[in-house]
């Protein structure tokens, strides 16, 4: 169930109140930025963040949409879909590069990393490499949401649309699989 404050803010957004939307942005921007930063190229984060919040505005301001049960889960779900769509687009662009239909300049923009963040990026790549060994995509997602995004079981359950008990079991299995994988590699 939504907190009272969130209910009120959403009610105001339905009336196109931008100030209410600003409050929601202030609340969630940093978390969504972290979510996107870990998963998408750094250079794309700003654009993706804007897209997430624009989509959120469209959803909340549309009176025909069904009632929001959990705002935090909704914001994360939109972010998750944005990342998935981004990589879907990127695959298509890679194919176009192979076909010579995109210039080298555009291709290099796709892999741009700003100065001063190389250590952080290196650690992120290290983590992703280790996680690649996990067979189940859902396990990777849950581990990332739990340990990178520091979401609770309940929040993760809402985002992946499963109940809390199942989420706990999946996390337990993900940790077990990771441990087995690391032990096998020693």
């Amino acid at each position: 169930m939504l907190k009272i404050k969130e209910q009120i803010l959403i009610g105001r957004i339905r009336k196109q109140d931008r100030n209410a939307f600003e409050e929601i942005y202030d609340e969630y921007a940093e978390r969504i930025h972290r979510f996107l930063y870990f998963r998408a190229p750094t250079a794309e984060c700003d654009d993706l963040l804007q897209e997430v919040f624009l989509d959120l505005w469209d959803y909340l301001s549309d009176g025909r949409q069904k009632q929001v049960e959990n705002l935090k889960a909704l914001v994360y779900k939109i972010a998750k879909n944005k990342v998935a769509n981004y990589f879907g687009e990127r695959e298509r662009e890679k194919r176009l590069v192979e076909l010579g239909e995109i210039t080298i300049q555009e291709e290099s923009k796709l892999a741009l990393v700003p100065d001063g963040e190389l250590d952080l990026q290196a650690d992120i790549q290290k983590i992703k490499k280790e996680m690649e060994g996990l067979e189940n995509e859902l396990y990777r997602e849950i581990l990332e949401m739990r340990f990178i995004d520091e979401l609770s079981h309940k929040e993760i359950a809402e985002i992946i649309e499963k109940d809390v008990g199942t989420t706990r079991v999946l996390l337990h299995r993900a940790l077990k699989q990771m441990k087995e994988k690391m032990n096998n590699e020693k």
Binding site: F53, L54, R168, L175, K179
Partner: protein, 369 residues
């Protein structure tokens, strides 16, 4: 790198990802600017008649308009239909007033303002369905008895599903553990009351789905008891908790023993589930309830997945995902479209149920979302 080192690196890396206040404000400005520049939607927002009506009675900035408008609709309904609703209280399926009775119940459900109130409304509706089923099955044989029995038992199963859903929401949201414990005990008692009624119903075919649903609700309740026992909130003794979990374990084992898996993969999974139940039993004997419960949950998930796969009983077009633990040698997550294995009568039944719901909506002009 060990798994612990990796998890620590993940936590630390997450916290190192910074979002500068300057950038945060700049992006906010950019978003707001884009909103200003966007064209407004070509279709104006549709405001339902009853919301506009509520506007005249409720201040514009109050976000409880939907609540106020539901109250308005309910008040109008009560004034004009009190006598009809009163007369429909004891109506059974087949009686023309049965629709009125169902409509009144759904209205009571939809105007409930909290998950607890909705759970209570659902439980009361479920208890009524159970009583109707018992009454229906005890009357003399009639041409529509089987179909009507199937209708009511399906409705009962649906209500129990609703109860489970509402209770899960309460469980996730309710911060007051004592209140949660009280709700859990209330639902537990009502489900037990329904179960006591059911054996009297002679038609076992109708019961299968209902019994499955009562088991699901009881599992969720027990899960709450386990969490609350560990938190020191619920007042059950250790022996009582062990007894409850053991009873659940035996029931899951009984279900597992009835399964007849065909594929080798399914046989291995069933064996693994039984092994988990054995481990759960061992931990129960050592009074280690938390680990026992974890093992039991895992086993339950596997067995439920296998049950759906082997015995069918799901609606046509519904996909089934079976999560297979990765400790088995060859594991995949399987999804697929299962064929509707129920008889053609169930298709007629579902159509009948849908038409009743549509009719109720139309009669009382309530927008049910």
């Amino acid at each position: 790198m060990t798994d612990k080192e990796l998890l620590n690196l993940m936590k630390e890396t997450g916290r190192r990802i910074e979002f500068s206040p300057v950038k945060k404000e700049a992006l906010k400005d950019s978003i707001l600017a884009r909103l200003e520049n966007e064209k407004s939607a070509t279709n104006p927002q549709r405001v339902p008649f009853w919301l506009r009506l509520a506007d005249t009675f409720v201040p514009a900035n109050l976000t409880l308009r939907p609540v106020a408008s539901f109250s308005l609709v309910m008040a109008l309904f009560l004034i004009t239909s009190f006598a009809t609703v009163n007369a429909s209280k004891n109506a059974l399926p087949g009686n023309p007033l049965y629709n009125v009775k169902i409509g009144a119940e759904r209205l009571r459900y939809f105007v409930a303002f909290s998950d607890e109130a909705r759970a209570k409304a659902s439980m009361e509706i479920a208890q009524k369905r159970a009583a109707e089923l018992k009454q229906l099955m005890s009357v003399a044989e009639g041409p529509n008895k089987d179909l009507l029995g199937a209708v009511v038992s399906q409705q009962l199963a649906n209500e129990l599903d609703n109860v489970k859903e509402q209770f899960n929401k309460i469980k996730n949201e309710e911060k007051d553990a004592v209140k949660l414990a009280a709700v859990a005990k209330d639902v537990d008692a009502r489900v037990a009351a329904i179960e006591r009624e059911l054996p009297i119903v002679s038609d076992k075919n109708n019961l299968k789905n209902v019994l499955a649903k009562t088991e699901e609700v009881k599992f969720v309740i027990l899960s709450t008891y386990v969490d609350q026992y560990q938190a020191g909130v619920v007042d059950f003794s250790k022996e009582a908790m062990v007894e409850k979990i053991t009873a659940q374990l035996n029931q899951i084992l009984e279900k597992a023993n009835k399964l007849e898996p065909l594929s080798r993969g399914d046989q291995e999974n069933l064996a693994m589930a039984k092994e988990l139940l054995k481990e759960a039993k061992r931990f129960l004997a050592e009074e280690n309830l938390s680990v026992a419960w974890l093992k039991l949950q895992e086993a339950n998930e596997i067995i439920n997945g296998l049950d759906i796969k082997i015995n069918g009983g799901i609606v046509e077009g519904e996909s089934v995902e079976i999560n297979i633990p990765t400790s088995t040698p060859s594991t995949t997550v399987q999804t697929g479209q299962m064929e509707n294995s129920t008889a053609s009568g169930d298709i007629i039944l579902n159509d009948w149920l849908n038409s009743q719901e549509e009719q109720s909506k139309e009669e009382f002009k309530v927008e049910i979302k």
